[in-house]
């Protein structure tokens, strides 16, 4: 310990001597050392501001570390370090140079606490410091932060940055950030009017937020200009809001479609009231969890592929369980819908409790692969990647299923058995096996739906419960026995739901949708796309 400390001191001494130009560095170290004595957030904040005021790019490392909660004080000598956690010990790095300066047990160091307010202060400070960073992404981040936290003192560094900027996109952002700062400065009115015009042209929520506070805090021409700009932005945003509702509706529809599509086979095609359908979805989600656990423990490099690996496995697991249910229970109950309902309900409870016993009652963590995290903007519309992929995925599953049903011999046999069992049997189709495989197919599809739903929902034994009612609703509404009906039913329910939600609220919206469906079923008992023909009556 003493040796290390001595070494540290020698290093410090050497550094200080080797780089004579950095008398400033010694000053920085003196400021950083103050972190050791701060006892509350406002004291820490004062030190952060002092560091930021030096304007030295060197302070980026300690400030970024502080924001991440990686800045530590060694209890023995009150020296401040950047720490990298690894197991029980923490690797200590010099706060300015980033060089290794030993290790410490967790109990020997104290973390410098940060909260949201402090993180915001640091983010703003870093914004100014990183305006000239090499990577455009960092500069963009700096521009975004500075736009959100306008300050008259930002104008000067921004002017310099704009002059030096070569990337046109970043330059625009810098100019907008400068305009935001101009609005809170004491620049002449003409400058402010130009700034309002510039920001108004940006037209997004951040611009709206900024202009609203400008409107409240200024007089005369600037206020009028701000009011006008707000009006324009609001009308554009209203247009985008409608687009947003449609997108949300489509996205909800894709989730409904995924949840219901397996049921469209077991209930829609085979006529089995399968209350254990939701549990097949749950089994698929748990398969994903197990796959991710194995990958995390043994092949961490494959994590981004975990969902792709989980898909066939989830299909197999759910299909096998489905096969077992059909062979073990349902085949004795064909033509007795009430008994089927009760039996499958019982099966669903057994499956839930089994999963609860094996994995425990708590939620399991299923991670999002990197390609399913975050969002991107289309105009003023933020589209999240996971929702987009789920939409694509649900349509793929639908297309695949349609292909199997319409273009393969197996699909033909399935449809034949459903249409007229005795005739199909007379033609040499082994109807019991077709039944079993159809049920397994429906269950398997529910399983792969579970892989997708694990990305947006809880992975808990109750996962399936949340989807069973919605699934039945979609299948019945779309028309029993018709895959296209399920597709149209899912998307129309999704969109209607999402259009109602902003006005009626989520609770009332759901009730209204239910009432509408009841009324619709009264009018058209067979749903949107009813199968026609004699076979249906049988």
């Amino acid at each position: 310990m003493i040796f290390l400390r001595a070494l540290g001191l020698v290093l410090l001494f050497l550094l200080a001597n080797l780089l004579p130009a950095n008398a400033a560095e010694a000053d920085l170290r003196a400021i950083i050392a103050k972190f050791a004595t701060t006892s509350n957030f406002s004291a820490t904040e004062a030190v952060v501001r002092e560091l930021a005021a030096t304007g030295d790019p060197l302070v980026e490392r300690p400030l970024a570390a502080l924001a991440e909660g990686d800045l530590y004080v060694r209890k023995a000598d009150s020296l401040v370090f950047v720490g990298k956690e690894g197991g029980d010990s923490v690797e200590l790095l010099d706060p300015l140079s980033g060089e290794k300066s030993g290790e410490a047990a967790k109990s020997d160091i104290t973390k410098i606490k940060v909260n949201n307010t402090l993180r915001r202060v640091i983010r703003d400070a870093l914004g100014t410091l990183t305006l000239r960073a090499k990577e455009p992404a960092v500069r963009i981040a700096a521009a975004v932060t500075m736009f959100k936290t306008p300050d008259a003192t930002n104008i000067e560094p921004l002017d310099a940055a704009i002059a030096a900027e070569t990337d046109a996109n970043v330059k625009v952002l810098f100019e907008q950030a400068r305009a935001a700062s101009v609005l809170v400065s004491d620049k002449p009115e003409a400058d402010k009017l130009a700034a309002v015009a510039l920001i108004g042209a940006r037209g997004d929520r951040d611009a709206l937020s900024l202009l609203t506070s400008v409107e409240a805090n200024s007089q005369g021409a600037v206020k009028d200009a701000a009011t006008a700009a707000i009006g324009t932005i609001n009308s554009t945003l209203a247009f985008w809001d409608a687009g947003q509702n449609i997108w949300y509706g489509i996205s909800l529809g894709s989730v409904l479609l995924l949840a219901a599509i397996g049921l469209a086979i077991t209930f829609g095609v085979m006529g089995v009231i399968n209350m254990a359908h939701g549990e097949m979805v749950m089994l698929g989600a748990y398969t994903t969890f197990v796959v991710q656990e194995v990958i995390r423990n043994s092949f961490p490099g494959l994590f981004d592929w975990s969902l792709v690996i989980a898909l066939p496995l989830a299909f197999l697991v759910a299909a096998l369980v489905g096969l077992a249910i059909e062979r073990g229970v349902i085949r004795f109950l064909y033509g007795r819908p009430l008994e089927t309902l009760l039996a499958t309900w019982g099966v669903s409870l057994i499956l839930q409790q089994a999963v609860r016993t094996i994995f425990g009652p708590t939620n399991q963590e299923v991670g999002n692969p990197s390609w399913m995290s975050g969002s991107f903007d289309v105009g003023q519309l933020a589209i999240t990647w996971n929702r987009l992929w789920i939409l694509v995925f649900s349509l793929c599953v639908f297309a695949l299923l349609l292909y199997v049903m319409k273009r393969t011999p197996w699909g033909l046999q399935m449809r034949a058995v459903t249409a007229n069992r005795r005739m199909a049997a007379s033609m040499g189709i082994r109807t019991p096996w077709v039944d079993a495989l159809t049920f397994a197919l429906g269950s398997g599809i529910a399983g792969i739906a579970g892989v997708a739903l694990s990305q947006i929902d809880n992975v808990s034994p109750n996962l399936g419960r949340g989807y069973i009612i919605d699934s039945f609703m979609v299948v019945v509404f779309g028309g029993v026995g018709n895959l296209w009906g399920t597709l149209v039913g899912a998307f129309s329910l999704g969109i209607v739901n999402k259009f109602l939600e902003p006005y009626a609220g989520a609770v009332l919206g759901k009730i209204v949708v239910l009432v509408l469906i009841i009324l619709f079923i009264q009018k058209r008992p067979r749903g949107l796309f009813a199968l026609k023909g004699r076979a249906v009556e049988a």
């Binding site: 909660g69 708590t362 991670g367 034994p461 989520a506």
Partner: protein, 449 residues
């Protein structure tokens, strides 16, 4: 019973082999004697403690952990030599997240199993469903979960937080400079009694603090809600009015994971719009990647990360008991820890497990909590607790960023609701009333909802 049967058998066999009869009779008597003494010993040697938590159905996710925590506490107490020289025996029943079944199971625990006290319930509706059973059969319920208040029963001890021990200090923190001087509020909740009452109290409180009505947005979603896109974008929209905005979330259980996932995906950062949650603990975060959520807040009376020797021991014991190092501890577990220790102390004080005497002995009992202080049972059957505000960290734990300077006493009847501001509760003689109206000077009236 057995003795009578074999005797009559003996009489019926009188004409038969005499020695067989004697043998049978004597065997019967011996068996009966053994049985009776076994029963007598059972009654003498053990004190039964009822555990009424759902082990299946929707609430199993939260309540199973509490059942395990209770089993651990009872086991530890037995290792210490039991209570009043007797061993404690846990009687576990499963009300299966079914509210009426809670009442049935409570009746079964009290009448059939003759338990001395019951630890249980999670949702307010399950508590409301068992209240009549506990007052009719005169037994004790320890309720470990934060709740909406507006209740004080003679037979119930509330070891979770009342609104003033969680919601009000949380909002105070957000209004403070440290919390970001929030000016605009979204009250987001699941549609049932706890969020609705809490939000009613909070709305009244915020308005009393000078927040304009247009700066408060209240929204409810159904249980288990999973599609948060519209709600999150509404929050984003509400937050872009040029004033510092925060979300106060009473979203319950399962709906939280998709809520936070959507917040993360839509890029709402805690620095811009922090979310303060009252129902999100370590257990809920266990099912989440918390890296995008760092900085969002929760208000509780306990965090697993609290650095005290008591807490360290509790966590170590818990990991040993449950045989899993990854299982987290949470606030309701601490509430059971406090409640159970209080009950033990009160029974020792009263020298009996008779509910009436224990109820009287409970008031004033003080036991250590896990955050380095003492919690005391007040005359209104609520306890004193510190209030902690924590920020979510990347490792799924909370880091305390603010703590009340002293202990906060649970206030059962909120001062901010017109219906309840005149009511107080004091179960000591001579008042002995859970809803005493100080304005009219009468016990009863509004309040027993």
């Amino acid at each position: 019973m057995v003795a009578v049967q074999s005797t009559s058998l003996g009489v019926w066999n009188m004409r038969g082999n005499f020695s067989t009869i004697t043998k049978m009779v004597s065997a019967g008597i011996v068996a009966a004697g053994l049985l009776m003494s076994a029963q007598a010993r059972a009654a003498d040697d053990t004190i039964k403690v009822g555990i009424l938590h759902s082990l299946s159905g929707t609430m199993a996710i939260s309540e199973t952990t509490l059942k395990d925590a209770m089993l651990m506490l009872i086991e530890e107490q037995n290792a210490k030599g039991g209570l009043l020289g007797k061993k404690l025996e846990a009687v576990v029943v499963d009300p299966a997240s079914n509210w009426p079944l809670f009442a049935e199971k409570a009746r079964e625990l009290i009448s059939k199993d003759k338990v001395a006290a019951v630890f249980g319930c999670w949702t307010s509706v399950s508590r409301k469903s068992v209240l009549p059973v506990f007052s009719e059969l005169d037994n004790i319920l320890f309720y470990p979960v934060q709740y909406e208040g507006e209740e004080s029963e003679r037979n119930v001890f509330y070891t979770g937080a009342a609104p003033n021990q969680q919601a009000i200090p949380a909002v105070d923190y957000l209004m403070s400079e440290d919390g970001g001087s929030v000016k605009r509020w979204v009250l987001e909740g699941t549609d049932y009694v706890y969020p609705r009452t809490t939000n009613k109290i909070l709305e009244a409180y915020l308005k009393a603090k000078g927040v304009a009505a247009e700066d408060i947005m209240v929204n409810y979603t159904p249980f288990g809600f999973s599609d948060w896109q519209t709600e999150v974008s509404a929050i984003k929209k509400f937050g872009s009015a040029g004033k510092k905005t925060a979300v106060v979330s009473t979203v319950n259980g399962d709906a939280n994971v998709p809520f936070y996932k959507e917040l993360g995906n839509q890029g709402i950062k805690a620095e811009d719009i922090p979310v303060m949650a009252f129902s999100v603990g370590e257990e809920e975060l266990a099912g989440l990647d918390t890296a995008p959520l760092v900085g969002h807040l929760a208000a509780w009376n306990y965090f697993e990360s609290v650095d005290t020797p008591e807490n360290k021991k509790f966590i170590a014991d818990w990991h040993k008991f449950i045989k899993n190092d990854k299982r987290t501890t949470n606030d309701p577990m601490e509430a059971h820890y406090i409640g159970f220790n209080m009950w033990v102390k009160a029974v020792e004080k009263a020298g009996t497990t008779d509910p009436d005497k224990v109820i009287d002995a409970m008031i004033g009992v003080s036991v250590p909590n896990l955050t380095g202080g003492y919690s005391t049972m007040m005359p209104n059957h609520h306890i004193t607790k510190p209030v902690l505000i924590g920020e979510i960290q990347a490792d799924g734990q909370f880091e305390t960023v603010s703590q009340t300077s002293g202990l906060v006493m649970g206030d059962e009847w909120s001062d901010y609701l017109p219906d309840s501001k005149d009511l107080i509760s004091d179960w000591r003689a001579p008042l002995s009333c859970g809803n005493f109206n100080v304005a009219t000077g009468k016990c009863g009236g509004k309040g027993t909802n």
